[in-house]
């Protein structure tokens, strides 16, 4: 997962006032196309600002507390992500390094590269079989959605 990090300044902006330069949009589109054509892209998306979000805090003893966004105290927020399937961590870093600066060339920004835990990382067990069953249901649902979309 290549996570595009965000900060308070970026989080406050909406699409309307982002006035993303045509150049950045074009560069990002080209980059996304490269990922897709190389066959490494599994998913990509952008997230709305945290003013539309909520957090649920879990504390010891099963206590839960709801906190509505925006999360003004946070220094690290997520703006969007790509999911890629590559052969090594180095290849993932290489792809992230080729991305256009996500918030534009005049802004500080950061992409965090994180590796997924695969089911094979766990020892086989009944619980793991459950997860495989969930994965199967999920993929069927996705393919059904794609069919509906066409």
């Amino acid at each position: 997962m290549m996570i595009v990090k965000s900060n308070q300044e970026q989080d406050k902006r909406t699409i309307a006032d982002k006035k993303l330069s045509e150049k950045l949009i074009g560069e990002m589109r080209k980059y996304n196309e490269q990922l897709a054509k190389a066959g490494v892209l599994l998913d990509l998306s952008g997230l709305h600002g945290t003013s539309r979000g909520t957090r649920i805090k879990f504390s010891p003893g099963g206590k839960k507390a709801l906190v509505d966004g925006p999360f003004t105290e946070s220094k690290e927020l997520v703006a969007g992500f790509w999911i890629i399937d590559v052969n090594s961590r180095e290849e993932a870093i290489e792809w992230a390094n080729r991305a256009p600066a996500p918030h534009g060339p005049d802004q500080e920004s950061e992409i965090e590269v994180r590796q997924f835990i695969e089911l094979e990382d766990y020892l086989p067990s009944e619980a793991i079989e459950k997860y495989e069953e969930v994965a199967r249901i999920r993929l069927e649902r996705l393919s059904q959605m794609k069919k509906e979309a066409r």
Partner: protein, 153 residues
Amino acid sequence: MRFMMMIKMKKDPAAGKTPSKEAFEVMGKYNEQLAKSGVLLDMGGLQPTSKGAKIKFSEGGKKTVVDGPFTESKELIVGYWVIQVKSLEEAIEWAKRAPLQHDGSDDDCEIEIRQFFEIEDFPETDRVKAAKDAGKKAGDVYKEMAKEARGQK
């Protein structure tokens, strides 16, 4: 509406620590509920940040690669679900039902719910059309994966 439910912790789970068999089963049941209700689009767990890296983009096109672990970070993502529901309220309901096991340390564990941008949120331009095409390509990859998964079954 699509929402991402991110599981966040203040630091990486202790090295080599894997969830107990019970925790695994309880989480498996919750995932099954999400899947069988037809709301689950994707989910994943992430390896500790020691296996990750960061690319920092600075002014003037400078890029710096920083290897994990990210010990200075206070909010780390350990996993997530992507769900499709009718409202933020419905997403909150699902998140509240998640059986997160607090590991007894002082670290807060939380789920952050964030709404996805949909392609309809953007004005219809040639570039948006191109993005839709790229999305369709990604969808085709998923379809292939679904086919493979069924084949293996």
